[in-house]
Symmetry: C2
Subunit: 434 residues, 2 copies
């Protein structure tokens, strides 16, 4: 068993995952009389809301990630381990990991969510996910490799397949990704690929429900759709994917699209750790927690953020899987863990919804703040400001700001490099890196 | 055969490689009545002099690379293909590539150089090279992974192996890399890894000749060595590597160093393309060229930069493998190709040596300008200015500048992320990506 308890008298809080929730929790425990151990399979925090800009060549990967050790470098009661968690043994109060067994007094599962293919091995194999930095970089490589291939392809059907881009799922990620692809098509590719007829490049957005941006206001939904269509994205609503073999995408309408570029953003599922009983797992593979984020049936195991499902009057299906929920739950749980240690009463979690937003492209975003809605340039500036401020680290803020200003005035994308070539069709479970 | 000659009346100049030489050549042919086709295995130009900063977490990979298509986006007689060249068939005037056969009227080999292990398969397998961006990123991952492992390692010998860093080769790359590692050790790691006794981390620089920075002035050599030693680097001169099995490095002095981090910068070899007769290959695997960079024995095949060896009175072993030589040869060859097409006399190449420089660390660099030598802060500012100005693209200059200013004032490195874990020992030829 790995020994990190040099001062083992104080309770040990083990946090699995360095996302928005895990970070807030660990920060707020700074002055508590506990020992905090954070585990993550990456040595960095990923700012997921901007992954699509990494995938489409607008930002460097390094500017939306931040080393976890650095965030906590002055926090004396904090330790970090770069490890994968394999399972929980609740009765022994330990977790098993890639670096051995680790004991806990309080365990917090903050593992977030992964792409949900709804059980389809075919879709998992052939479509591209975008939940991590390696996945975003793979997507970037694939897009650019297929454009390079299209240049030399003489067979018209194969060429069409290389130039058709299909984004499945009309949530914020799908909207932002398809909008960003359309800007790549209009502003960057014509000068980079004079050999290609850029009009033969098509961008589809496929959504199963009757509108894009499901949880947002009707006005935002309509605005976003209008923006996308104005930018040349072919939006198909009320349509589901039936099958995809890497070349041909079959839709529920009977239509087929030839495409080698299918980007999957149609759903997420909680990343549950083995050892949590099946009956505690709710819809979307989320762990059922009580009003203080405690996993039902345990006194010392908690879950926060995307992986947790807390049923309340306002949120009968659990809270939305967004950063503010994770952050607020992390903050709140820190207080409750201290309360539990001190035998004080705990306080139920209450989500304060600050609003939601999505960007479609240059000067085009939608923002819902309570009953107030903005769409267009002003919303776009709000979106940029909020995202810049939420990024961890001053250097990251600065580099992202420089890149955004650069793109804004030059209509250009800085970083369209194929650093590691990628071939999803040849990928095996062994070579898949998350 | 791939057809790119839509206007096939004008001579076709095929350039293999988008390094400093290939880019200058293609640029200078902008107004010539030729068709230019550039091939490169990457879709970007790499600014190799700053690779060590990518490897040690100071810079993003994307800020020292530039998409080749973008450099030439307004050049009408230019086309780019992302391809690997497999061989030359001089008598048919074609090259074979990963995307098919390509015909040429003039062929320019500008493939640069690769790491030279002097025939040792063992060193090639176990040590880390740093000639490309994927290699620099692998190196970054390995350094950080080994530090993470050292945190949890309890065996003192294994722990020493994880914390000993050995740079082999005291040229500019080796000096810059070992200096940069020492800054990482002093300014970044103590706060990031409070669990490690940072004094148990040792950085060695091993050089076979009696001095570092071989081709520079004696004063620069002495200054650089003094700077390194002052920064805590253990410099071993007149020492050669006898063997390395991934754990133990045996030196010609009989000494052994336990290390899992051996960085190989002890030599380069020209990246010759198959089809060039062996008798045309000189020392360092460079192709023998005449005074206009023409491969001896051919009228239409040329080589420039690191891969070319032009013997002159001033350079009896060929020119140094540095960017200015490649750039000047590229520029000069453009003129001579036009002369050849127009049946005008060609002009022999003459290298104008502007001087050389190397940086050791913060405020410490050495610069030789003819007989004038600078060492220290002023040299460091010259070094930064020259490198910033030589970087391709305004966005890259800006992002690198922001990062350098950030590091200067904060004593920090922005980008110490393990984006793709790396294990050299498990690497096979198939998984090696250059």
């Amino acid at each position: 068993m790995e020994s990190t308890d040099n001062y083992s008298k104080v309770p040990k809080v083990v946090i699995v995952g360095g996302g928005f929730g895990g970070i807030e929790l660990a920060k707020k425990l700074r002055k508590a009389d506990v020992q905090v151990l954070m585990l993550d399979r990456h040595n960095y925090h990923t700012f997921q809301p901007l992954l699509y800009q990494v995938a489409t060549g607008g930002l460097e990967a390094d500017s939306i990630a931040f080393p976890l050790r650095k965030i906590f470098k002055n926090q004396k009661n904090f330790a970090f381990r770069n490890a994968c968690v394999e399972g929980i043994i609740p009765e022994r109060k330990i977790i098993t990991t890639s670096i051995g067994e680790i004991a806990f007094d309080y365990l917090v599962i903050a593992t977030g969510s992964d792409t949900n293919y709804f059980g389809s091995k075919e879709l998992e194999h052939y479509t591209m996910p975008m939940k991590t930095i390696p996945e975003a970089l793979n997507l970037r490589s694939m897009i650019l490799q297929n454009l390079e291939e299209a240049v030399i392809e003489t067979d018209p059907v194969k060429k069409a397949g290389l130039l058709n881009f299909v984004v499945v799922g009309g949530g914020p990620t799908g909207v932002e990704l398809s909008g960003s692809l359309s800007e790549l098509k209009r502003h960057v590719l014509p000068s980079d690929y004079p050999e290609l007829d850029i009009n033969s490049m098509n961008i589809y957005l496929i959504e199963g429900s009757p509108e894009v941006l499901g949880p947002m206001s009707v006005k935002s939904q309509k605005d976003a759709q209008r923006f996308l269509e104005h930018m040349g994205v072919i939006v198909k609503l009320d349509v589901r994917v039936v099958s995809y073999d890497g070349d041909k995408l079959a839709l529920s309408t009977g239509e087929e699209i030839i495409s080698e570029n299918v980007l999957w953003s149609a759903g997420v599922a909680g990343e549950v750790i083995a050892g949590i009983p099946k009956e505690k797992i709710a819809r979307g593979n989320r762990i059922q927690v009580d009003e203080i984020n405690r996993v039902q049936g345990y006194s010392d195991i908690f879950a926060i953020g995307d992986v947790a499902s807390m049923i309340t009057k306002d949120y009968p299906h659990g809270h939305p899987g967004v950063a503010p929920v994770a952050q607020q739950q992390g903050k709140h749980l820190a207080k409750n863990i201290v309360n539990l240690i001190q035998n004080k009463p705990t306080e139920p979690f209450d989500y304060y919804d600050k609003g939601s937003m999505a960007t479609v492209g240059r000067n085009r975003a939608v923002v819902d703040l309570g009953k107030v809605h903005f769409g267009g340039v002003f919303a776009w500036f709000i979106w940029m400001f909020v995202h810049l401020m939420t990024l961890v680290g001053f250097r990251n803020k600065l580099v992202v700001f420089v890149n955004w200003m650069w793109s804004y005035f030059s209509y250009d994308r800085g970083t369209r490099l194929i650093i590691r070539p990628f071939n999803r069709k040849l990928m095996t479970e062994d070579t898949a890196q998350k």
